[in-house]
Every structure is written in C-alpha cells, then in structure tokens.
Symmetry: C2
Subunit: 352 residues, 2 copies
Amino acid sequence: MSRKPTLAVVGATGAVGTVMLQILSQHADIWGEIRLVASPRSAGRKLAVRGEETEVLALSEDVFDGVDVAMFDVPDEVAAQWAPVAAAKGVVVVDNSAAFRLDPDVPLVVPEVNPHAARVRPRGIVANPNCTTLSMIVAIGALHAEFGLRELVVSSYQAVSGAGREGVETLRRQLKLVTGTELGTSPGDVRRAVGDDTGPFPEPVALNVVPWAGSLREDGWSSEEMKVRDESRKILGLPGLRVAATCVRVPVITTHSLTVHARFEDEVTVDRAREILATAPGVVLFDNPAAGEFPTPADVVGTDPTWVGRVRRSLDDPTALELFVCGDNLRKGAALNTAQIAELVAGEFTAR
Amino acid sequence: MSRKPTLAVVGATGAVGTVMLQILSQHADIWGEIRLVASPRSAGRKLAVRGEETEVLALSEDVFDGVDVAMFDVPDEVAAQWAPVAAAKGVVVVDNSAAFRLDPDVPLVVPEVNPHAARVRPRGIVANPNCTTLSMIVAIGALHAEFGLRELVVSSYQAVSGAGREGVETLRRQLKLVTGTELGTSPGDVRRAVGDDTGPFPEPVALNVVPWAGSLREDGWSSEEMKVRDESRKILGLPGLRVAATCVRVPVITTHSLTVHARFEDEVTVDRAREILATAPGVVLFDNPAAGEFPTPADVVGTDPTWVGRVRRSLDDPTALELFVCGDNLRKGAALNTAQIAELVAGEFTAR
C-alpha cells in the first residue's frame, strides 16, 4: 500500500519559502506531514500551510527524522552544510541554492525539460536552477527539442525580489524618496535622494537600471551571468552551447523578463515556433502586438507559466528567433519549480 | 570676412527643444541671430537662450527668411512638410524626425562617426538618428573602425522621456499610484491601480517593463527596432550588417541603456577594446565592477558622452564583445547630436 511521504520545508520564512507554502496549499495534497524549518531565530513562529497553523522548527539534524523529501531555500553556505546532513539520513533534498547546481553528481532539473534527470541522484540531492535561467528555459527547451539550439544571447530585466525581502523593501523605500519630485532629470539627483540606502544593490534601483547581479567572476562576468550559461548548458544537456548573458536589475517588484536571441541548427519559421510555444506545457504564448498583446511583469506576476511574446525571426539570419519572455521569479523561478521537483520525487514514494 | 550664421530652432518648446536651448547657451557662441520657432499654439511665449529672453515665432515660410541653418525637432509629418519648405529657401535643415533618415539623398550623421557625410546633402537636409541608435553608435563606431563589425544583437532599456513630456508625466502619475502600497506582487494589481492611464505607452510603465516602442511594422517588429537596424547600417556604411534589436521601455525618466552583443570580422581582445573606448571622442569608459563602476542612468543623465561599461569578450566566441551602454536620450540621443551637426554645417559658413 502506498503512503503519503513526509515533506520538510527548510527556509520556510523567507520570500521564496512563503511562496512555497502558498503553492503547497494550492496544489493537490500529496504530502503526509509537512514540517516547517528555519533558522533558530525564526523557530517558534507559526505559519499557515494547507489551512493549518504550523510551528516553525529550528534547523537541526533531528528535524529530518522520518522526512522523505526536503525543499531547501537557504543561503548557499547553509545549503552546503545541511543538505548533505539531511541526505545522509535518507532524505531526498531539493535544493534551491547555487551550492550543488554544477556538481556532476547532482541533477539540475526543470520538470518540463529534463524530468528523467531527477531519478539519478548519487548524492541524494536534486538542484533547482537559478531564477533567471528558470524564467526562460521552459520556452527555450521546447524550441530546442524541435530546432536544435546552438546559441543564446540573453539580456535580463530582473525584479528586485530576486534579492529577497530586502530587495523589495529597498525599492519601496527608494520609490518614496523619488516620487512626487522632479528627480531623475539631472545628473546625480536620484543618487543624492537615495544616499547610501542601496540595500542589496550596488546602485539606486528606483528610476534606474543596474547592470549587475551577484558577485564578480573572471574577466568581468557576474556570477548571475555565469549561472545562466552554466545552468542552461546542464539542463539542456548541451555542454558546448554558446551563451552570452548580460544581467540587469530593474525597478520591478516580482517577475523577471528576458530578451532572447536564440540561434538554432536548422532554419526556423515564426509559424512553427508559435505552434510549439502555444502547445508546450508550462508556456503561455501571448503575442499579438496589433492587439497590444505581449507579456509584461504587471500581468505575469503571481502566475505559474513562462509567458512568451514578441516572437520574430531575425531579419538577417533565418536560423535565429527573437523572443521576449516573462516568468514570476518567486514561483517558476524558485518555489514552484522546487515544488514540482519534490512532487516528481514524491511519485517514487507513492508508487512503492 | 566671415560672418556668424543665423540659426532657427523649430520645435523650441518641446522636451528636446528645451535641451537644445540649454546646449546653445552652454556651447561656444558661434551663431549670429537665434530664432525660436514652434507651432502657432506656442507662439508669443518667451524662452531663454544665451541668457536672453527670446520670443517664440509661429512656424511659417517667412520665418526662414535670412536663416542659414535650422534645427528641427517636430513630429514626422510636420518635418516632412516644412523641412523642404525651409530647404527651398536655402536653409540647411538638420532634422530630428524619422521623415528623411532613410532617404538616399539625405545624409544621416553622427559627428564622431561619419562627419564627412554632412557635406553632401542633395536635398539641403541632414537627418539626425533616433535616440536609441544614438545611445550606442558612437561606441560601436569606434570599435567597428578597428575590428570590422559583422553583427549586432541589442536590447534596450528605454527611458520614458523618449516619448516626450507626456511620457515623463505619465510615469510620475503612475508612480504616485503605486508608491507606498503593496502593489506589484499580485496578478494585475499594478494594472488595476493605474487603470487606463497609460499615456503614450501600451501598458503601465511604473513597476513594470514594456517590450514595445513605436508602431507595428512587418512580421511583428516595432518601428523602433527597425530604426535601430536601418539607421545603424546607414551611419556605419554597412548595408548588409546583421542587426537584431528588441526595444523595451523601463521606468527611468531620462537616459537610454542598451545591452550590446557585437560580433566582428576579427578576433577581439578586451584590453584593446578598452583602449579604443577609453580614447574614442564622445565615449566614457566606466568599467571596473570590482570597484562598483558601471554606468547607470542615474549617473549618466545630463551628460554628453556615451558611457560604456561591462566590457567582456564572449566566452564562446572570440570575435564577439558584450557591452552595457548608457546615453542621455535627450542630449546625445537628440538635442546634442542635432546641435553638433548644425555646428559642423556652420563651419562651412564661417569658413567662407
């Protein structure tokens, strides 16, 4: 007889953890016990999941006793320490940090693209991709399956909630400082109004765009840009894929957008690309500029799919498509994909 | 003996016209009379230029009597009608509309890139490029001269003042509606707050990004995207240049930003690219991410040059560079470049 597996949510009180609990309350109830876990600082708080107030437990080894699957959304160094502890106790860890994504013994999974990969997990860990890659990869994966992807040139328009609650609060504070004024038209006036209050960002983000996300890597690349390249290659199984990304923060609360120039092995047609995107699971094609239809974060926030619009064939290259893609960075970009992986894994328990 | 030529500023009361008058007051005083011209609605107003209150005249044929050079910043249809009228009276028209940019008998000029082109003007008209192209082309032209440009993939982050005063006022109104609230985290809440008050934009632009600028052209392309392709080709003298642009409006008041993936004939090095950009006229290289140095609109607004940062060589293509470029869309993107062309032309009068 099958039994309902036990789930732990580690990092339940964060921006992504909050969305995880919403999703668990909305999805089919496949779980037995759901245990909420956070840092000792948050232990004892009560959070609602599936309509029940549930006490948050402090992260410890004992908290994983009897747990089948754990979803982690914690800082990289916390995941690096604790995911192996949970895995050693037989827990399947689905981790949303960057700690294990490029580990060859850890699959990096997007259920619409490479669900099979989740079954082979030598370390007992499955990694969830970063939010920027996740905001486009379902659509790209569908096109790749038909046309054979050769190259991606992507530019991001990343929401502040990608930097957590602190990112959102920073933009809200800055907006109050610059709204109702003439700021934004003279050199340095936004900077003077905002002062040093840039929160997790290197520059003011209100009335501004900031071409930086993450930490500095080799040759001037940011860690976020390297993640888009490395993770896209791993998810698609294309280790030689050409990827050039520039990641830019914009004053949007939630939902990442990307422009994508995708070059394929074969010649493409817009009609066939639209057919693929219109029927691909997890994708919404919203592309009729004559009727004012293209995705924007204001429409996409709070929804599950990857929205695709502005589908065009490059005028000078019949093998390339141009797209504008939006995805909720807290849902598909983080909590939703993590939950989808956990549900894939749960199927193994209920099938036993 | 040389004489100081007479200048007319047509469209003196608009967002760009206002910046034109500022620039004329700041630059070396090479002009004799400066005549201010606008629609009959604005005639009789007084505006300051070179420290003098000057009455605005209504646009008419007579207003061009004795004028040597005229800078036009008016809607396309007004330019199409009136630039030939002025030219027929011997006036050299420097026009910032789209009406003549692709006319083979009208040069399209960026003084740092193709100044020679301004001397050959069969129709008596010189065209000023659109603001998005101008925000990057000085930097691209300098790199092209060394490496030979083959392809551009660009994504824009365009400021609302590119849509004139109405664009700025629309963003300011919308910011008041969304600031100090929890808007931006649930589906449709920004849209509900803003209602139909989207001004010149098809969607709310506060807490949002909008992948549309201009009007619909063939195969899903926007007019703004076609301008970037057509005008870059003409300015650089590369009719076969591959260009793929996606133009996106962002909640920034003034200064357009672009990500640029530029592929060249020859292999490139970041060191040589940086040398070129550090010494190119009209370009500021601001590129030291370790010290938090990269251009953002908040720093660039109100300045003349094209600012370039985030210079990287593509990891998978030694012939391609990635750049992040910012330029004030009202200055270099419009008024400044128009004034620079007018000053080039004025040199012909003073040299007589």
